[in-house]
């Protein structure tokens, strides 16, 4: 019963986080300042998530290989590469480097 209570409570609260800003924004124009703040917050959140997912991935993979793969992926993305191209290129780099490091180590 406790597990259900926790799951439903966190779920309901999470839905409220997702729904309330949409509901409050109904028909209202935001200021340019608020719009900039939200965009900065969004970019910051994505960036922080990318770093934390890299860090989490390092527990089961080689950190140097992950870091280099991420840099290569960033370069491909900055040059206009699609999500699939970034993932494939970075994954190939990661797989190759991880294999080399594993063979050397």
């Amino acid at each position: 019963m406790t597990t259900w209570v926790v799951i439903v409570a966190v779920g309901a609260g999470s839905f409220a986080f997702r729904w309330l800003p949409l509901r409050l924004h109904d028909g209202q124009a935001g200021s340019a300042c608020l719009d900039r703040l939200i965009r900065r917050a969004g970019a910051g959140a994505t960036s922080a998530l990318a770093v934390s997912s890299l860090r989490d991935g390092a527990t089961s993979g080689a950190m140097p290989a992950l870091a280099i793969a991420a840099i290569v992926g960033l370069i491909v993305a900055l040059r206009g590469g699609t999500i699939l191209r970034v993932v494939v290129t970075g994954s190939v780099v990661y797989g190759t480097l991880a294999g080399v490091l594993s063979a050397l180590g």
């Binding site: 597990t3 439903v8 999470s14 986080f17 729904w19 900065r40 994505t46 991420a70 900055l78």
Partner: protein, 240 residues
């Protein structure tokens, strides 16, 4: 002058072919994320299986719809009790307020049912894809189709992988999928780095995320977001 990405004006309707194209595009755009998040989903599945109430634990894959909050809540129930587990899960998911506020201007012409369903599917990758899609031309219906296809691809894949993890345990560990999720996120933040303020926000947030790596219950993420906003504001003030 700071460049701000603006939403492209869009008509309300689209042709059936455009509709199918958008559905396919949304599903394909989300597919790499499903692959990337597979190891994490399997870990959560293992936690669900280890928990005393696996059905309730699995239900969080749709009800909570956020891996970090889901995993933290399950692990905290036994150690810290129900109240602490609820607070931990909610704190981790507090960033959803930012995501929702971010997509609100893009969805203001969308019907209410879509905003409710879209809200339920809002999480890191769906938010990022919604933001990117909003800057591309297309009707409101096209954007709806794209987002719903992406969201349902993630939702079905995510919950299925958690179920697999609950059944199969750690058999797929070591496959090397862990690099896919960060690459997906990098591909979504990279186009935003052309804008000076946003670039500052991303860099500062990334650095704070490293420093705050061991902070509890999602507070590191919130600190990173706040620091990113502060850094961008400082850069913006210096450039004017």
């Amino acid at each position: 002058m700071t460049a701000i990405v603006t939403e492209v004006d869009a008509p309300a309707s689209c042709s059936p072919n455009e509709h199918l194209t958008e559905i396919r595009a949304g599903a394909l755009a989300m597919a790499p994320f499903v692959v990337g998040y597979a190891p994490f989903a399997l870990v959560i599945g293992a936690a669900v299986a280890a928990h005393g109430h696996p059905i309730a634990g699995w239900a969080g894959s749709w009800l909570i719809y956020g891996g970090s909050a889901h995993l933290a809540a399950l692990r905290t129930i036994d150690d810290g009790g129900a109240l602490l587990a609820i607070l931990t899960g909610l704190l981790i998911n507090a960033r959803l307020l930012v995501y929702s506020a971010s997509v609100a201007p893009h969805w203001q012409r969308q019907p209410r049912w879509f905003r409710a369903v879209g809200a339920a599917l809002l999480i890191d990758p769906t938010w990022a894809l919604a933001e990117r899609r909003a800057t591309q031309p297309g009707s409101d219906r096209a954007q709806r189709a794209y987002y719903l296809a992406a969201g349902l691809t993630l939702g079905v894949g995510w919950s299925a992988l958690i179920a697999v993890g609950a059944v199969a345990g750690n058999i797929v560990s070591g496959v090397g999928l862990e690099v896919a999720a960060p690459l997906c996120l990098i591909s979504l933040v990279a186009p935003r780095l052309k804008d000076g303020d946003t670039r500052a926000a991303a860099i500062v947030a990334a650095l704070v995320s490293v420093v705050a790596a061991r902070w509890p219950a999602g507070t590191g993420m919130l600190a990173a977001i706040a620091a990113g906003c502060a850094g961008a504001a400082l850069v913006g003030r210096r450039s004017t």
